[in-house]
């Protein structure tokens, strides 16, 4: 008994001594897990929604990142070090996302973080990053505030966003500004920040192009809405020419299927399903598109679509993804895939995994990615690239519907630029 205590005390002393010596060398700054030998793997911790109606997004993130990591490891890794992945469920809950980020860095020893589906989760994880001293590459969370407020305004340089933000949703204003017959717009939007900002940005831009346009109704649907018929019927009471809708993933599928049931596509001229170009949503309405139930009135964009751009990089990515997973990649997969390659480019340029140096290396970098050339803007750490909008159509060469009649508006026209004018993040 006595001996045991002595041994324990000795170990304690040794650890304390080690910490003191260690922190002395590092100027009293305790950093987690940065003293790894160069042969140890680079650990990459990801998180996304892997359960519930939005579960495909998290899965796609994991799938995209896994593919990139396997490719990189097959070619010897980064600076001779292999990559290792751990992926967690953020459940679209900010508290869970922060807990995951802390766990991944402090317990598991992640060198880099990526992922995050919900904007609420992203806004909670962002401010924790300086303390964790890790970069996080956001691959889905779309709120403008993540880059505009946290990076450009507050200077949290650990945040990078690989994916197009909510600016993309407002692309509808550019696509339909030259349709004088569409005057009455109604919105069915998510009852949280993403829905508010998408609708406000759309209204702002549309009003600029077309002062004659009216916004006749708005209905709001929170997470876990399963019956949208009250929302659809409420906005249809105002006889709109077009609908602007933001519910995504399974909720978007339910919304569209219920809209069909309510005969909406016999009445409106256009339905804009902002993130309708995502693979899971297209899969969910596949049968209805083939039967032409939408009468070609359904339009959508996404933060990447697999049939654009027509480049060898994109073709190679889509082919490799399909071969590996038997499915088409959606945008969270492409963004995660590109995030892993961004880590590679940053680390190789900085010749270290040190957070500040990799961040500096990535600023103003141009990356050749499946979605096209991504330019990582220094002011807000936002990756800038173009994603077109299109009509949802069935094409014989694809197992699910795709976007056709593509309308390509250059990103620099519809992405917001610093200094940023505030946008209301309220209903």
């Amino acid at each position: 008994m006595g001996r045991k205590i002595t041994r324990r005390a000795m170990i304690k002393g040794a650890i304390a001594g080690g910490v003191i010596v260690g922190s002395g060398l590092r100027g009293f700054k305790i950093t987690y897990g940065k003293t790894k030998s160069p042969k140890e793997p680079i650990k990459i911790g990801g998180q996304g929604a892997t359960s519930g109606a939005h579960a495909d997004y998290g899965w796609q993130m994991m799938a995209g990142a896994t593919l990139a990591i396997e490719q990189i490891n097959a070619k010897g890794g980064i600076l001779g070090r292999k990559l290792e992945l751990k992926f967690m469920d953020e459940e679209l809950k900010p508290a869970t996302a922060v807990k995951n980020a802390r766990y991944l860095v402090t317990d598991w020893g992640a060198d880099f973080l990526f992922g995050v589906d919900s904007s609420g989760s992203a806004m909670a994880v962002g401010p924790v990053l300086p303390e964790l001293d890790r970069l996080c590459f956001f691959c889905h969370a779309a709120t403008h505030r993540l880059t505009e407020e946290l990076v450009a305004e507050k200077g949290i340089k650990q945040i990078f966003r690989m994916v197009a933000p909510v600016y993309q949703d407002a692309l509808a204003a550019w696509v339909f500004k030259d349709n004088p017959e569409i005057k009455r717009w109604a919105g069915i939007n998510c009852d949280y920040e993403y829905g508010y900002v998408a609708w406000n940005l759309f209204k702002q831009n549309m009003k600029k192009f077309r002062p004659d346009v009216e916004f006749v109704a708005a209905a709001w649907a929170p997470f876990w809405t399963m019956d949208f018929s009250s929302h659809i019927s409420a906005v249809m009471a105002e006889k709109p020419d077009a609908i602007f809708a933001t519910p995504w993933a399974g909720e978007g599928v339910m919304l569209l299927r219920q809209a069909l049931l309510l005969g909406v596509f016999e009445k409106v001229q256009v339905w804009w399903q902002a993130m309708g170009g995502s693979v899971d949503l297209l899969e969910g309405i596949s049968r209805e598109v083939s039967a032409d139930k939408f009468h070609g009135k359904l339009w959508a964009t996404a933060r990447y679509i697999h049939n654009y751009p027509d480049t060898p990089e994109n073709k190679a990515f889509v082919e490799a993804f399909r071969k590996r997973w038997g499915k088409l990649p959606n945008y969270s997969a492409e963004a995660s895939y590109s995030a892993i390659y961004a880590i590679k480019a940053g680390v190789e340029k900085a010749k270290t995994t040190e957070t500040a140096k990799v961040a500096a290396a990535l600023e103003d970098m141009e990356l050749n990615t499946p979605a096209g050339v991504r330019f990582i803007r220094k002011a807000d750490h936002q990756a800038i690239y173009t994603v077109p909008a299109g009509r949802v159509v069935a094409k014989p060469e694809y197992p699910i519907p795709v976007l056709g009649d593509l309308k390509v508006v250059p990103a620099k026209e519809y992405f917001r630029n610093p200094p940023f004018e505030p946008v209301a993040a309220t209903k």
């Binding site: 009471a237 016999e266 969910g284």
Partner: protein, 286 residues
């Protein structure tokens, strides 16, 4: 404007009848056995998954898929009652909460393991697809079917409870368990049958919802909150209360979205708070 109000009311009515299917079982089990079964939503979810598997995956017809999923969930309900709930009838409410909450977690993870986490929606069966013109606007046949079915279930429950021997013994044991037992009612068996019946009602809601609602882990939890609000408004344990509560919640939700879209989400909870303040036992509570 009036047309739009009536139309929205009909949409609300179909939502109400759907919510009634779920609330009826919740309140029945509480009224008879005194168990507040938060896992009732999980039975709803299981009904949806069973029906989805038969109808969406194996290509059965919709009607038989719904029926078989009812039976399947009824069996699950019987096992839950026989093996678990029977042991806690005499214990305090916190034990019920822990047990039923445990079931929610287990079922959510179980369906994730069996069916995966991804949301799924099978197509609408032909005979429920399509619309009728109501007040100059298209109204889904499916919603009309749900309204009819909700009414039929209400009628059936009324007949069973008021007009049959089984219903009389249920009412007797809900009123005084010991006395009923003393005059020869087989209480354990009766409770099992009530629990199975309630489970099947939950499954009916879940199964019927599959062609329009998503089938995903967590849908049970999302639904149980609404069902709980309904039973609290109507009076816990009271079927008439659950019916009226469902009507209030369904119709108010629809009108809230039409008339007060900005704070529609609060309306239901404001109503619940008001009921609790004025009549804490609920509108029809004893």
């Amino acid at each position: 404007m009036l047309d739009n109000l009536v139309f929205q009311g009909l949409i609300g009515l179909s939502l109400a009848m759907y919510l009634w299917l779920l609330s009826a079982g919740l309140t029945l089990v509480f009224g008879v056995a005194g168990i507040l079964n938060f896992a009732h939503g999980s039975l709803f979810m299981l009904g949806a998954y069973f029906a989805f598997t038969l109808y969406g995956k194996w290509g059965w017809a919709f009607g038989p898929s719904v029926l078989v999923s009812l039976i399947g969930v009824g069996v699950v309900g019987a096992v839950m009652e026989r093996v678990f709930f029977r042991r806690i009838y005499d214990l305090d409410l916190p034990y019920q909460l822990i047990l039923t909450f445990g079931f929610i977690l287990i079922f959510d993870d179980l369906v994730k393991m069996i069916w995966g986490g991804v949301a799924m929606i099978p197509p609408m069966p032909q005979w429920l697809d399509g619309q009728l013109v109501v007040l100059g606007r298209p109204f889904p046949v499916y919603n009309i079917f749900i309204v009819g079915l909700g009414g039929a279930v209400a009628l059936l429950l009324w007949i069973v409870l008021e007009r049959t021997w089984w219903g009389r013994t249920i009412r007797a044991s809900a009123y005084d368990r010991e006395m009923a037992s003393a005059i020869g009612v087989d209480i354990p068996r009766l409770f099992t049958s009530v629990f199975v019946f309630a489970a099947m009602l939950a499954a009916l809601g879940g199964a019927l919802g599959t062609p329009v609602r998503v089938v995903a882990p967590g849908i049970g939890t999302a639904m149980i909150i609404q069902a709980f609000v309904i039973t609290v408004i109507g009076g816990l344990g009271n079927l008439k209360g659950a019916f009226v509560g469902a009507l209030i919640v369904g119709v108010l939700t629809a009108y809230g979205i039409l008339l007060f879209p900005v704070f529609e989400l609060f309306i239901i909870f404001v109503v619940m708070a008001l009921v609790l303040m004025v009549k804490p036992e609920g509108l029809f509570g004893r």
